[in-house]
């Protein structure tokens, strides 16, 4: 198996937790993985991106080659478009529908959605609403993880294990609500398949 994933969002939205959960799941499955993070200046409310590579064969590059990513998972709709050049032609754009507006020239949301829909393989879900229904809005990143999990060849049980590894310290209740959020996102994305 091989999954090359671009994670996108705005600094502080929590893309690293998604990466950590998939990473934990990959290790649980004894897969190879590489995960590149962004630290420093660009963290401060700017556009952030992380790359995650999981494979049953050894992985060479920390960077994903342009035109070869299997999916872009974005916590923000406009940010999902910034990294399209990494995506392979039949790759998936999986994004939260809720914009993060911290700039004055944020484009018309309809234009953003239209641009995303130009890709036939797309998933647009309101991660915050879904998270709010089963957990809290803060679990929106776990909803997006769940949506993405449909396209990653890792057993669901291991994805849950990945989430347990991150939230285990915070107790069972928080862990379970994050797992619920993931499951809800997984289900919500299935109508786009």
């Amino acid at each position: 198996m091989k999954s090359d994933i671009i994670l996108a969002g705005v600094g502080g939205q929590g893309i690293i937790s998604i990466a950590a959960a998939i990473g934990g799941a990959a290790l649980h499955e004894n897969l190879h993985m590489k995960q590149a993070e962004v630290h420093g200046m660009s963290q401060r409310g700017g556009a952030v991106q992380s790359t995650l590579r999981v494979s049953s064969k050894p992985i060479a590059s920390d960077l994903i080659a342009y035109g070869s990513a299997d999916m872009i998972v974005s916590l923000e709709p406009m940010e999902s478009l910034r990294y399209l050049s990494y995506l392979k032609p039949d790759g998936w754009v999986i994004t939260n529908a809720v914009p993060f507006v911290n700039i004055t020239d944020y484009p018309e949301l309809e234009d953003v959605y239209a641009e995303i829909k130009k890709r036939s393989n797309h998933v647009i879900i309101d991660a915050e609403e879904i998270a709010g229904q089963v957990a809290t809005k803060r679990a929106a990143n776990m909803v997006m993880l769940g949506a993405a999990s449909n396209f990653i060849d890792i057993p669901l049980e291991s994805i849950k294990e990945g989430i347990r590894q991150i939230f285990g310290r915070k107790g069972e209740e928080i862990t379970n609500s994050n797992i619920d959020a993931m499951l809800a996102g997984r289900e919500a994305a299935q109508k786009f398949l």
Binding site: A36, H39, G40, M41, A60, Y66, M78
Partner: protein, 539 residues
């Protein structure tokens, strides 16, 4: 022991601990910060009493590490690439003194300037100091190289430079670790004169260093980190340095490259291996992240046609490499990137909502209205983001500490008032000496030390300035009547403007300190307690 998921930075730190390092010395700087942070959080480090406190700057960290080496123990010193400019004096001379306990200097370079003001390639510093350089391709190699680096440092009695880049520093992968080694015993250098760089000693030591160079080359020749991988198609040979190897093999099924490849992980370059690939292949492509250092060495100043790379345009002259660029270079094609859809707006980094720097800038902008633009000399930190809209509050950002000295120079030229804006941590890093210059010259400058009790941009590390800024300023001779503190909030705006106007009008050195805790550190209980104890939060 066992397999751990680690950032490149963390692999280096863990390797240092496993190799019996007694001290880690550093000043925060992206992408090197996590090396020290890892040691600070490590139980193993605590149990073994490994030194793990931040230094005031990279020069003091380099010197302290050298002091530890003098005492026979293994030490590591880590910094971002531009930090080595600050530490250069100590670094270059440490090659002349040589070491006693093993010494590794880690330079984390930042090609493509993800979080830096330049993309200098610090392999040149290693070459300049004429010492061995190690350049890992992945996290496991970084771990292994630290062990090896300490060994050759002690074998050859020289410091070893380890050069990594952002991509390795901040990427996570599985790393196998080994059984930890005990720390060295405290032991003084055998030659009591070794570290006294009087000319007579330095001349002798320098000859020793030079005579060792052939041994460094032999070590590179035999090194497991300089591997020649033969293949049948000799129309092209490829030399990769460090992480660039990954971008090459990424393009081939099962990482099998059809051309002979020499992967370099240790310098000086292995002469025989280089000679072999140069002689047996029709052309040689050099793939290296950073400056075309190896390419230029092989090509020569006049440029042998046989060698391709960044200098002949096969690869871009600047910026970070990637698999696509390397593949295009092999096939002599150009790689062009699909443009980002025009719908997408720029989203630049910004100061956080509620940040004290913002309130200070809003006040400063208003206080300066009557004097006009172009008078604010800023420094390195979150407040550099005051350059962007809507503040556009600063005119310069050059290097750590340059705010005060550039304001002084501009005032010398007649630009009065001139204002310096510097953060608390940057002030103790490199601002104090400049302030002394300004005091001696009685320069008509206003120095704004925006104090948030932390090194913010790199993620909230300790600030050496905590609770002692006024003392320092008074100590170097600033008139206490012109050291003024205020609490930067929107509610205090008018008062801040008034105070700033008064000090802008003063024809000598004044220091204005907007003081409020960085909102990102509010969860740091230790810091909150310390700030309370010091009574800093008076309004």
């Amino acid at each position: 022991m066992g397999k751990l998921l680690m950032l490149g930075d963390e692999a280096i730190a863990q390797a240092g601990l496993d190799a019996g390092m007694s001290g880690m010395y550093a000043y925060p700087g992206t992408p090197s910060t996590e090396i020290m942070e890892y040691v600070q959080k490590s139980k193993q480090a605590k149990e073994n009493g490994v030194h793990a406190k931040w230094s005031a700057n990279e020069k003091t960290s380099m010197e302290a590490a050298l002091g530890m080496s003098y005492a026979g123990k293994r030490a590591m010193c880590a910094m971002k690439h531009v930090g080595l400019n600050v530490a250069a004096d100590a670094f270059i001379n440490s090659a002349i003194t040589g070491v006693n306990g093993g010494l590794i200097v880690v330079s984390a370079d930042d090609p493509s300037m993800h979080s830096s003001q330049n993309e200098q390639d610090n392999r040149f510093y290693g070459k300049f100091a004429q010492i061995p350089i190690l350049e890992p391709a992945n996290q496991q190699e970084a771990y292994n190289m630290v062990h090896y680096g300490f060994e050759i440092s002690e074998k050859f009695k020289v410091p070893v430079l380890m050069r990594i880049t952002t991509r390795l520093a901040h990427s996570r992968s599985g790393v196998e670790t080994i059984t930890p080694k005990a720390q060295n015993e405290l032991v003084l250098p055998r030659d009591p004169m070794q570290f006294i760089l009087l000319p007579s000693v330095a001349r002798k030591n320098y000859k020793t260093l030079l005579s060792n160079f052939d041994n460094f080359i032999s070590a590179s020749e035999e090194s497991q980190f300089n591997e020649f991988i033969d293949a049948s198609d000799k129309s092209l040979g490829i030399i990769t340095c460090g992480i660039a190897y990954n971008y090459l093999v990424e393009n081939y099924e099962d990482q099998k490259v059809p051309y002979p490849v020499l992967r370099i992980g240790q310098y000086p370059l292995p002469k025989a291996k280089i000679k072999h690939i140069m002689e047996t292949c029709d052309e040689v492509l050099v793939v290296e992240d950073g400056y075309p250092m190896v390419e230029e060495m092989l090509k020569g100043y006049l440029g042998k046609e046989k060698v391709r790379g960044r200098l002949d345009g096969s690869l871009p002259r600047d910026g970070e490499l990637n698999p696509n660029l390397v593949l295009a270079a092999i096939h002599k094609e150009t790689f062009t990137l699909d443009p980002i859809p025009s719908t997408v707006a720029n989203r630049l980094p910004a100061m956080c909502k509620g940040c004290g720097h913002i309130d200070a800038y809003v006040a400063l902008n208003e206080a300066l209205l009557e004097h006009g633009k172009g008078r604010v000399f800023a420094d390195i930190g979150c407040y550099t983001l005051g350059a962007y809209e809507p503040y556009q509050a600063i005119s310069t950002c050059v290097d750590m500490g340059a705010s005060i000295t550039m304001a002084k120079g501009a005032a010398d030229a007649g630009l009065v008032p001139s204002v310096a804006v510097i953060g608390d941590s940057t002030f103790t890093h490199s601002g104090i000496t400049g302030l002394i210059d300004a005091v001696i010259g009685n320069s008509p400058i206003t120095v704004v030390i925006s104090d948030n009790y932390t090194t913010g941009m790199t993620g909230g590390q300790d600030s050496a300035a905590l609770g002692r800024i006024e003392q320092i300023c008074e100590g170097v001779g600033v008139d206490p009547a012109h050291i003024r503190v205020f609490h930067p909030t929107p509610a205090n705006h008018d008062q801040m403007v008034e105070l700033l106007k008064e000090e802008l009008a003063y024809p000598g050195v004044s220091v204005v300190i907007p003081r409020r805790q960085c909102i990102q550190t509010m969860k740091n209980k230790e810091l909150v307690t310390k700030v309370k104890e010091l009574g800093l939060n008076k309004k």
